[in-house]
Subunit: 243 residues, 2 copies
């Protein structure tokens, strides 16, 4: 049985917004980068699996945070794979200030995708290489919703996916989905420093030059978002709750 | 007298586009990050000068490249400050493949800005700390134009600056200017692998929620761009020449 790994990171200038705290997208980017670094260290990072024409794709993600860290704050991210099945690998995170106090937890589910066919790869044959990296402790309190609901949009915009939005597979980059959705909110809502929960579900991939509808419903302390392909095919849903 | 520093870097997945080479913006981002790292190492990085309410702002930049490096390519960037005057510090770059062959050169001019007043800071009082870091060899062949001309736009779009576009000062991020301009080009032009020269002039800063006009003129092997604030105040100009 494997042990979780802890990565220490410091908030840099490129991570912060005008409040001198990390933006939500930059904070999620830090967690996703560390997921990538941990996978690489254990031998199944994107670099290794692209040699077999596979890639990791984020499917679901939720994080609960007491605060967004500020410039020069150092914090520790402990991460481990808690489980996997045929289709999904579940990676957990616990986040602590340099003083050791918990500031948040996160859960993510990933599927392995064949780059050509864009179909999910069965993870079962990886059993031998993968199982030794499982730490079957799922004791984080953050959990994933079964399904984020559709919404009654109070705002909507049309967005055409551009060259700078896509990755090497011509697919819209995960962090750009977050940017597109959060840019719909008023800046004073985005920059509030309150405990929050953010959940994301990636349902269908979006491509270069595709026309998307980005929709937002802001009601009290909850903001719900969806990105639709064409008229009604959901690509991504997101809910943010401030507490 | 100081010596140039050399930084070795490897092209990673997040740097490449669908051609598996770095995008132009990612390549320029790598050079600007190394400029920042070198300034920090020498004691006048953004982290240090923000404590005095100052920041470095890129004013002019030109790079000439025989090719954009590909995924996993390792290359060496040698950088040094060749000169400075009251208003501008000139930093040069030479870029070589891991085999030692030159693949490009770049020149950049920076001013130091007061964060509150947004006026340029006189660099003369820094003489004592700064002069020992000058390596007065300006023998790179790439040079800056005196002034990039206005253009006869063949395409134009209106863009409103969004939350995810700005840095901690609420100013449009340098790399986002490049994205906004290059997104105007057809993807097959952007992904051509040919020797190229790119020049940028940053004239006025752009702010959160400001409405910009992004204009492009593509004629043969030359693409010229400008971003205007309101009707006619130039914020940025850029010219790309493929050879």
């Amino acid at each position: 049985m494997s042990r979780p790994s802890t990565y220490t990171t410091t908030v840099e200038l490129q991570d912060i917004d005008m409040t001198r705290r990390t933006s939500v997208a930059a904070f999620i980017g830090i967690l996703l980068n560390i997921a990538g670094e941990d996978a690489t260290k254990r031998g199944f990072g994107i670099d290794a699996i692209t040699q077999e024409n596979h890639t990791w794709v984020l499917s679901r993600f939720a994080v609960e945070l007491s605060e967004l860290p500020a410039l020069n704050d150092t914090f520790d991210i402990t991460t481990w794979i808690a489980a996997y099945n045929r289709l999904l690998s579940t990676r957990l995170f616990s986040i602590a200030s340099s003083g050791g106090q918990s500031i948040g937890e996160a859960v993510s589910q990933w599927c392995m995708m064949d780059i050509e066919s864009r179909h999910a790869v069965d993870l079962t044959p990886l059993h031998e290489a993968y199982s030794e990296h499982i730490y079957p402790d799922d004791k984080v309190s953050v959990s994933l919703s079964r399904r984020l609901p559709s919404l009654e949009a109070t705002q909507e915009r049309i967005y055409r996916v551009e060259y700078s939005d896509v990755d090497f597979n011509c697919h819209l980059n995960s962090l750009r989905y977050i940017d597109l959705m959060l840019n719909m909110l008023p800046v004073d809502v985005l920059t509030e420093s309150r405990p929050m929960r953010i959940e994301l579900q990636f349902i269908h991939e979006c491509y270069l030059e595709e026309e998307l509808r980005v929709r937002c419903e802001l009601r009290g302390d909850i903001a719900a978002f969806e990105i639709l392909k064409g008229e009604d095919v959901p690509a991504v849903r997101c809910v943010i709750e401030w507490r």
